[in-house]
Amino acid sequence: MSKLTDRNIPELDFNTPALLRHRKVRALKDRSATVGIAIGGCSVILAVLLICFYLLYEVMPLFSGAEVDKRAAYDLPAKEQGASLYLTTEEQTEVGMRVSESGNIIFFSTADGSVIEQVENPIDAKVTAFAVESDTSFLLGFGYEDGRVLLAKHKYIISYPDGNRQIRPVVEYPYGTDGISAGDFAIRKLALRDSEDKLTIASLGDSKSAITKLDKEVNFITEEVELTETTQALPFVPNTAEMLVSGDQRYLYVASVQGSLTEFDLRDYDDINLKAQFELTKGDAQVVSMTYLLGQSSIMVADTSGRVSQWFNVRNADNEEILTFIRDVKQPVSIENIAMEHRRKGFATLDDRGVIAIYNATSERQVINERLSDETAHLIAFSPRANALLIEDSSGIQVYHVDNEHPEVSWSSLWNQVWYEGYQEPTYTWQSSAANNDFEPKYSLMPLAFGTLKAAFYAMLMAVPLAICGAIYTAYFMAPKLRRKVKPVIELMEALPTVILGFLAGLFFAPFLEENLAAAFSILIILPVGILAFAYIWSRLPAQIRWLLPEGWQPLILIPVVVLLGWFCVAMSPVIELNFFDGNIRSWVTNDLGITFDQRNALVVGFAMGFAVIPTIFSITEDAIFSVPKALTQGSLALGATYWQTMVRVVLPTASPGIFSAVMIGMGRAVGETMIVLMATGNTPIMDFNIFEGMRTLAANLAVEVPESEVDSSHYRILFLAAFVLFIFTFVVNTIAETVRQHLRKKYGSL
């Protein structure tokens, strides 16, 4: 035998050069395939996991604090003119400006402190008071010992000779260089407020005070502004620390050093009356400074106890504006000076130790607290973009670069109630953008999270009973032949694009429901009762008829029944409305129940999103019930239990972890669903569980706002945070569901 083989089969040489080469190539291919697949596989998996990290990467800066670093320090420019009364810079932080005690305006380079220009005070009298209209209007006021007031405006003219930016500072005097006579006394304290149509100046001397109003009127012929001056004496408030004219020039606030605030009503100049009095400080703390926050709505009061409190007008039940304490922040020692950010609701405090703290009023967040100077520091100022901070102390001026991108966001402003300016009480509000610049952004994620859960809740309310009951029947009672037909139909339901469901919900179902509101609720009662009644009648029918319907085909005969019942409900809807709700159920809901009714409401969303969630829950539940080992059910049946008893006592408890995971996964889908909510609700971020009102969900909010938010702004990052919250929520929910399911599979794999 072996000889035969030897003869027939020629000697095989597996090591010919060609074969060796071939093997080498094959081995090389194999190795490169291994490496290639490993690299490819890992990179795909990494790319997918990158989502999580990228979202986090975009969110992180929100919660990191501010950073400051020193850019320059130099002697006080034009030191001989005395210390500064006011300090600021222009937009680019290239040119600094200070107002000296002598009343001169000194422009200097922020980089090295060299004087660029010094503008002498045009009035030859001693400057005894100084006031700033607001940082953003660039309007300054000087009060003199002879009772005059001069208004000056600093401006910066930017030109680009040979492509390089050049900034030339100028000072203008919008009301002339002669000054306005505001009183017949040496002015000690000054407050001013300017607007399109009038200018108000409050001045206070050693024993007298007065208020001056300049009404502006544009002459139609010459187009020149004509001024009408009115001066009126004011009741004198002794020991005045600060005065403020409100943004709308209706009220004058006078704070005494001891901390009592007197509010005057300026609306009628012939009858200026005392409106109210408040205590601004606690204990014997004395008022250091009182200034408006951006927007001239909130008054910030700093005192010697280190407390900075925020106050604004809140309308009470009688629609009266009452100055109300809102919130405060505290430093351990007395505040020396306070500076407002020009474009945000932020401020910085300088205390007696030379410690600088930067806060944001809305979020009550302290972003930095650092000792940058010594006890001699007395003045701080922000650049307009709040990216630089100037400190004046005995050694001169220090310039710090400030990196403070997102002070308006804090954990509490995102998830707690916040008292926003102009609101009657602390609220959860989402309002990310508005037309004007001094808008206070309202970034509370609560209404969105609430809306998300509300939508998911109503969707689950609709989907869970239908899907689980349907799955129970399909898996356990249904004839296999019918089951093979029903399952693809339900799975097709899953493949339906949600944009179609949303469109039908918004444009077909919402108006339909509004017309037939009575039907929507009557169907809840009529449908189950009708089915039961039909089932009972069916059980009483003669056997010959009953046997026409094989076991497990009940849904087939129920389809016409359900259609009929549904049609009956819709047809009865006007009749019900007529007999029980005076013909208009909508107005009954609004007037008698006192519930707001939106056409696109939670009921519509619940129905449409329930529709989208049913197939998910259905197929997983069906799977779980179907995979309950037959031995268990057969044992139960053999012991004499009915089918239903077996179902409830044996099958359901066994499959319950699977059903639980089905509900979880369905919930995850409902929470993240975007298009249905976007189209079937009004997208108003309200916090109300009312079924007849809409909501705005996190996902819909992303779809609406992400495209128009400015890259890397706080708004943008908060939207990323919303996306991250959605991501984590669904990820966790799905992981729990998946683990439960795998556990279940392992448990019954052995049975």
Binding site: K29, A33, T34, G36, A38, G40, G41, V44, V48, I51, L466, A467, G470, Y473, V486, P488, V489, E491, M493, A495, L496, P497, T498, V499, I500, F503, L504, E515, P528, A535, Y536, S539, A543, Q554, L558, I559, V563, G566, P574, V575, L578, F611, Y643, W644, V648, V671, G672, T674, M675, M679, A699, L702, A703, P707, A723, L726, F727, T730, N734, E738
Partner: protein, 564 residues
């Protein structure tokens, strides 16, 4: 079987079983009902509706004539009407209200009117009432009075019944419409293709010049070259412009005089008419023909009038392009990742964790992928690409804004878990001994994979890919952030180099539904079109899903003998 008492019946658990059966029935009814609703509304849109004429008078008001298409009817309780200030007979409790499409938006301001059926009188369907679809202001309804050429009447009639003169005038109008349509097609060709090409060329020259400037290489010779090329384009443009002017004078030659429902006579330019027809005198066969042409227009034409009329071809095209690109991306990567996880990686805790993670990513809301796509791909990678490769186009972004490429990549990322999960499942089904047999015969691991394992797993891969495609085709939310627009000026595939414009924004069927249904100025008029678009999308997705099932079954059959 003896008859049971009620309590016995309840005890047997039968009621519960019936209730569960009811849940199945309700679910099935909902699915089928929804599909029927879309189908009926979507397909019904193309059927030419009769135009009715009648007198309408609310009690106490003067009567007026109405000429309109009936759109839909609803029942309203009389009480609601009384509340709205309409006098209603006490004995009637429910009345029918009909939405009428009166058209002629240029004259009446709105296309639609609600009328209460009980107060419509003398309803007739005159044969010579015609409907005209226009390029602006929606449909026109009325009687044709005359056809004018350069302001001179060439055919006219005073009859509102089908007489010789009215039919002759009608025939003249049809001829003129044919002619205008031909000219319109020519104008379209010139504006879209010829001038589009020139604009594209000019833009390319501008970018080239800017590129030279940025690199400090703009020599006088190059400048001269650019200028001469530009001069050629300008020359061509002048010729085309003259041609356009001629075409426009030609197309604006004809007008018609139409008597509207309130007796006003409207002069309408024939150039703006897309088609005119007499629905009341059409036979069923005519209507079928009309239906076919409308359906074809819907599938092959561009949208008109802020997407509320015309076709959805650009949206179909955009959807297909995007899905194809996505498939090209998702298939290899998904399969490689699955093969790595199942065949190459050491099975352990880490692979199990990764498996669960990948599985769960399929459940992460699609909008999150959209946000990620916008932040990472567009703002981060896109702007880097722009700075590196397209500095001459800045500050207008090339890839730094939403576009076809980013949309495809985002959706690929969204659907890659589907492919991975399906492929892995397919790989896990392949018996160990098949692999071992191949290895025993001396094949390397790569050869085993390529020749044995992957072919056997192909049904599963195919299923995964098709499911991914079906999901991608219906997904809208992420696309809204990464490159879909309501109206794209041109298709992402055209005759200009480089032919496929990956940076261009595109239209999408799903977004079209959202946009036309919710952002359109005239929702009522656009609604039928939205139903038709929805139907189209449902059909596409249902076909994809069914083909996934069929392919899976077919391939399973093929490899059945191996799966022992």
């Amino acid at each position: 079987m003896k008859k049971t008492s009620v309590s016995g019946w309840v005890k047997s658990g039968e009621p519960w079983v019936w209730l569960n059966a009811g849940a199945v029935a309700i679910s099935v009814i909902m699915v089928v009902g929804l599909l029927l609703l879309i189908a009926v509304r979507g397909l019904g849109h193309f059927w030419p509706a009769d135009i009715v004429e009648g007198r309408y008078a609310l009690p106490g008001n003067e009567s007026y004539k109405i000429v309109a298409e009936q759109v839909e009817s609803v029942d309203v309780p009389s009480a609601q009407l009384i509340e709205a200030g309409i006098e209603v007979d006490e004995s009637i409790t429910v009345m029918q209200r009909t939405l009428m499409k009166v058209g002629n938006r240029d004259v009446y301001g709105a296309d639609f009117r609600w009328v209460i059926d009980n107060y419509m009188e003398e309803v007739t369907r005159p044969e010579m009432l015609f409907a005209a679809e226009r390029r602006e202001w929606g449909n026109m309804y009325g009687y044709l009075l005359a056809v004018k050429e350069n302001g001179n009447i060439v055919a006219s009639t005073e009859d509102k019944a089908p007489t010789d003169s009215s039919l002759a005038t009608w025939a003249t109008l049809q001829e003129r419409i044919e002619r205008a349509l031909a000219i319109h097609e020519e104008i379209y060709q010139v504006e879209k293709h010829d001038i589009g090409k020139i604009n594209y060329g000019l833009e390319r020259l501008r970018l080239q010049q800017r590129g030279y400037v940025l690199e400090n290489q703009l020599t006088p010779e190059r400048m001269a070259d650019l200028e001469s090329e530009r001069a050629v384009f300008d020359e061509e443009y002048k010729v085309l412009q003259q041609k356009l002017i001629d075409l426009y004078t030609q197309i604006n030659r004809d007008t018609i005089l139409v008597e509207a429902m309130d007796g006003t006579i409207i002069e309408q330019s024939v150039a703006k008419i897309v088609r005119a027809y007499l629905p009341n005198s059409m036979s069923v066969l005519d209507k079928l023909g009309f239906y076919g042409s409308k359906l074809w227009e819907f599938l092959s034409d561009e949208p008109r009038e802020a997407n509320t009329e015309g076709g959805v071809f650009p949206a179909i095209f955009g959807t297909v392009m995007m899905v194809l690109l996505m498939t090209v991306l998702v298939t290899p990567f998904g399969v490689v990742a699955a093969v790595y996880l199942r065949e190459y990686a050491t099975q352990g805790v880490l692979t199990r964790v990764i498996r669960i993670a990948v599985n769960n990513l399929a459940g992460v809301p699609s909008i999150v992928y959209g946000v990620f796509g916008l932040g990472f791909f567009i703002y981060f990678m896109g702007s880097s690409i722009d700075q590196a490769f397209f500095p001459e186009a800045l500050p207008s972004p090339t890839f730094g804004t939403g576009g076809l490429m980013w949309a495809s990549i985002t959706l690929a990322l969204l659907t890659v878990p589907v492919v991975i999960v399906a492929t892995e499942e397919g790989l896990s089904r392949i018996p160990r001994n098949v692999r071992e047999g191949s290895l025993a015969l001396g094949a390397t691991k790569a050869e085993t994979l390529w020749r044995v394992v992957l072919p056997m797993a192909s049904p599963a891969i195919m299923t995964g890919v098709i499911l991914a495609v079906a999901r991608a085709a219906g997904e809208v939310a992420p696309l809204m952030l990464v490159g879909v627009v309501k109206l794209a000026p041109s298709l992402p595939l055209d005759g200009n180099y480089p032919f496929i414009h990956l940076d261009q924004k595109f239209m999408h069927l799903g977004f079209h539904i959202y946009d036309v249904g919710f952002q359109s100025p005239n929702v009522e008029a656009a609604r039928p079109l939205v139903y038709a678009t929805a139907l189209l999308l449902v059909i596409v997705i249902a076909l994809l899903n069914f083909s996934a099932v069929t392919i899976r079954n077919h391939l399973r059959e093929k490899y059945k003998s191996l799966e022992m």
